[in-house]
Point group: C2
Chain length 198, copies 2
């Protein structure tokens, strides 16, 4: 049995995933959004790209069986499994200090942006920009008008997704600390992950 | 009368737009997609961001009257006018060499990605990444399934958009050279632009 690790509420974690291994991300309580990124372990300038993946798939949101590509349009991840209803977001930027200041929060409110940089730093790594994230379990329906709504997740406790690495990757998760709007049901909680061998 | 300049077919142009000035982009023949970017003239690391603008507007696509924000969530542009039907795209990455190679084209096929870098170079400027572009007049409907379609423009000859600069900006346009899929009606053509004073 692979060991299960925790991403504490409002925090981030980065893990090296070798080609052929996979990362399972578990929505322990069902209500938590997880911002997700992946970087080429040999060149952090190559990263999972939402705008290139949407173009490759001709679809707004990836689903099981899809190949996710990086900003060079090279295959990076296989979206191998998803026990949730498949409601994820690719169009909203990760939260950051500016987002929370505009929402009236303190300057030091945790954010997915900071979680990305801190998680990479824990591996001795750094990136100059914060790419657009794949926002797992985040429920942002696009209405026929093009308007976006910010809703609570529709996943169940224990729902999980699995991404198989097609190249050596650094994968990063942030348990989104958003506690002002209701995307995390108003209460950011922890999630879990597990590294799966090939 | 402000002078009207041309962006030749398949090429890009970069222009400095001072705070209070505006850029009008004219779809001369109506059928042409224009990839558009804007950068803070004092710090090119701050750029018009599609993912932050979608979050700020809670809408997939900006329209007249909207304030477009940069990757720091700061107001950058006012979307002041649009005589087209308002069909633009924010979810598809600008075309690049890899895109055309995958479509079976030659390695040296023109691309919006290269046009961005060449246009900036003409002003003695450079950026390390190619941000997601605001794809003017590009008709990528999101179906209820989430699938994206690649359609021809619905704009008329002479339709135009106007972006007013809220800070000193470098704005970049690329007359998209896509001639394989039909987004430019199969025939990339020139567009025009004009710098408008405040």
């Amino acid at each position: 049995m692979p060991s299960i690790q925790e991403v504490p509420a409002r925090q981030g974690r980065a893990v090296k995933i070798a080609r052929g291994q996979a990362l399972q991300i578990i929505n322990t309580f069902g209500t938590q959004v997880v911002d997700f990124w992946a970087f080429d372990a040999r060149d952090l300038g190559a990263y999972l790209s939402m705008e290139h993946t949407r173009a490759a798939l001709s679809r707004l949101t990836p689903r099981t069986g899809d190949i996710l590509v990086d900003n060079r349009r090279e295959p990076m991840l296989s979206f191998e499994a998803d026990t949730s209803p498949g409601i994820h977001d690719t169009v909203i930027a990760p939260c950051d200090r500016a987002r929370y200041v505009k929402l009236g929060c303190a300057e030091d409110h945790a954010s997915c942006h900071n979680n990305l940089h801190r998680a990479l730093d824990s591996l001795g790594l750094a990136v100059p920009v914060c790419p657009a994230s794949f926002n797992l379990f985040m429920n942002i329906p696009v209405l026929p008008s093009g308007d976006l709504e910010w809703r609570e997740t529709v996943s169940k406790p224990g729902d999980s997704v699995i991404f198989r690495a097609l190249i050596d990757c650094i994968m990063v998760m942030s348990a989104c600390p958003q506690d002002v709007i209701r995307i995390n049901a108003g209460r950011p909680v922890s999630v879990q992950y597990s590294v799966l061998d090939g």
